[in-house]
Symmetry: C2
Subunit: 191 residues, 2 copies
């Protein structure tokens, strides 16, 4: 398999994330997270999208969804879908995703965490876009959370925090699929 060569990749984490009550949980895989984020990642030129879940059952399910379009009748039915799902890698934990992404680069992978709230020390989208363009040999892994967002421990251990997407008012409840699409456009889109 070809190692990753594009210096931005996405990891969608299903653990450790908060549920509605602020408890740390493992969320279930959402079929369309896999499809939508794979298609958006591929559209914006990424060659890796990691689905991360500690549940073996959920990894099997993710593999089956991706596999249907890669090898099943779906591969013939929709070749564009296959091209997008070819960049998906299913991992048990973040460390595994980082190691796979690392295989394409000599500089250590840096993680970038995102959430819906403004935090001190965040970097902006323009700044990160610039960082991505300036050093193509520096890999950045963008961490996205499911459920009610990644836990505080994740924020403490990430290398960078990316500013939240600002909407037009106080309401800010994008799905992770929509947020991923906007982030990719801001970081790699052409106008």
């Amino acid at each position: 398999m070809t190692p990753p060569s594009v210096n931005l990749a996405i990891a969608l984490l299903h653990y450790p994330v908060y549920n509605k009550h602020g408890e740390t949980v493992t969320t279930a895989l959402t079929n369309l997270d896999l499809h939508d984020i794979a298609r958006a990642s591929k559209t914006f030129g990424l060659d890796r999208f990691y689905i991360v879940t500690p549940s073996a059952d959920q990894r099997t399910l993710a593999q089956r969804i991706a596999g249907h379009w890669q090898e099943g009748w779906g591969a013939d039915y929709n070749k564009d879908r296959k091209a997008a799902l070819d960049i998906v890698r299913i991992c048990d934990k973040l460390k595994t995703a980082v190691a796979e992404f690392q295989s394409g680069f000599s500089a250590p992978v840096r993680t970038i965490i995102t959430g819906a709230t403004q935090r001190s020390g965040s970097i902006g989208f323009d700044q990160l876009r610039q960082m991505l363009q300036t050093d193509l040999g520096q890999p950045y892994l963008l961490l996205l959370g499911t459920g009610w967002g990644l836990t505080e421990e994740c924020f403490a251990s990430a290398d960078h925090i990316l500013a939240p997407i600002a909407g037009a008012g106080t309401y800010n409840h994008l799905s992770v699929r929509s947020a991923a699409a906007i982030m990719l456009d801001r970081l790699r889109g052409t106008r």
Copy 2:
């Protein structure tokens, strides 16, 4: 009910659109189109998102999905979801959506159509963003297609054609949910 007051709204059309074979069809409603585009529209300050389908059964289904979060136990369970779905209006045809949107404005509604291919005479995102900011009394209805895209007749009868979202290469297969999110960010996002 409060009439619309924001000069941009989205209409998601389930007819007339192409299927994979280039035939004109009515597509089935996708649950997450309704949720994701409503949440993104609300986040970027829109107060109308029209779901348009000629199928009475499908309109009933759309109403049931939206209604669950507006009036059912979902309304209590997730108030943010309710706020997003409050802007959804379900219509039988585009004309009905235009008329409802028109009720908030004296200037005639102008339609803007979008697709994945570059066409001559398209306006760019920056230009439309400027148009939206310059004349708050001029309503624009952004038409999004499901399936394999809106038919040529739709392109011929729209007032404006918006340039496609450019990715990083030749692959360009965003879901309509992802495309809507990116468009809203480009037209109304704050950096």
